[in-house]
């Protein structure tokens, strides 16, 4: 198999990896906690793409049974990702509640300012 065929066939995995790595970069590099949480949700969402890509069959249809269709995509990853989306919003909203609480105590959501004011409180 040629390199180009390989690239075209795996391009969704490369995009998945790019999204994942950007999320990781945002989580580590940015000191602002809300931006960190956006990065975390980017990372989570890229995992959805990683799970749903192999489930697809070209020429298939959504797994809702009907006499007119024979080929269906794999339903199991869809179920797992449905669960993951809901758990994802639960973690993100808990994180946001912690950020709001931090703002009430420290008056800022910048990591540097929180660390530097840690001795005073």
């Amino acid at each position: 198999m040629s390199v180009i065929e390989q690239f075209v066939s795996h391009h969704n995995y490369y995009v998945t990896i790019l999204l994942m790595v950007s999320g990781l970069y945002i989580v580590i590099a940015s000191g602002n906690m809300i931006k960190k949480l956006v990065g975390l949700s980017l990372f989570q969402t890229s995992v959805y793409l990683l799970y749903l890509s192999p489930a697809k069959i070209v020429g298939g249809t959504a797994p809702i049974l009907d006499e007119k269709f024979q080929v269906y995509s794999n339903p199991l990853p869809h179920v797992l990702i449905l669960t993951a989306i809901v758990v994802g919003i639960a973690t993100i909203s808990l994180g946001l509640a912690i950020v709001v609480r931090i703002y009430e105590v420290y008056g800022t959501i910048e990591e540097d300012e929180i660390f530097s004011s840690d001795g005073e409180i």
Binding site: V21, L24, V38, T45, I64, V79, A90, T91, S93
Partner: protein, 190 residues
């Protein structure tokens, strides 16, 4: 045809992601994250995951954006300074990305019905779920019947997160009241 639509959507996703990385206004970041979720939901429809796409559009693009905007309002956050150390995160992200790209090398081809994921348990669900559960939507049948304990666990996670948020934000109104009329702060603590 499906592959080209997917390619275009993934290209748009890439552009939005790069914009999120470089954008420093928090409001713009949150709105871009909402756009990202909508694009992701559209890509999910192309990947035949219609139930997931609906959930992602409602939860990822709707509820999550509202939550982010609410906490932007509560924390009065507008913009944030440029990160100090860029090289360490770039290095970590680069190493992780290289390892993952190495891992894609022997993955099966996209959209092939012969790949291992379609051989083991999916045919059972597709062939038997109508007789065993009577639900035409296989995703619903698996979610609410075969893996219902899993779904119960998911509900427990949401319940726990809800309790956590309530505990964290419970004292907000009371504390704000103390700031306004600072008459006898000690008495209210007890």
């Amino acid at each position: 045809m499906e592959a080209y639509i997917l390619m275009a959507l993934l290209l748009l996703l890439t552009i939005v992601t790069i914009a999120i990385v470089f954008q420093r206004s928090l409001f713009a970041v949150v709105i871009l994250a909402g756009i990202y979720s909508f694009l992701m939901a559209t890509a999910m429809i192309v990947l035949d995951a219609v139930d997931v796409a609906m959930t992602e559009a409602a939860v990822g693009a709707g509820v999550a954006t509202v939550f982010f905007l609410a906490s932007l309002h509560l924390t009065r956050a507008r913009e944030y300074p440029r990160p100090r150390a860029v090289w360490l995160p770039l290095f970590v992200a680069g190493v992780v990305g290289a390892a993952l790209i190495g891992g894609t090398y022997d993955l099966p081809l996209f959209g092939s019905a012969a790949s291992p994921i379609h051989q083991h348990i999916a045919p059972h669900y597709l062939n038997e779920s109508m007789g065993e559960t009577g639900v035409p939507n296989v995703v619903t049948a698996v979610l609410a019947d075969y893996r219902s304990i899993d779904t119960l666990g998911e509900t427990t996670v949401i319940f726990t997160a809800g309790i956590g948020i309530m505990v964290l934000l419970r004292g907000r109104r009371r504390r704000r009241g103390e700031d306004k009329d600072d008459v006898d702060p000690g008495a209210r603590e007890t």
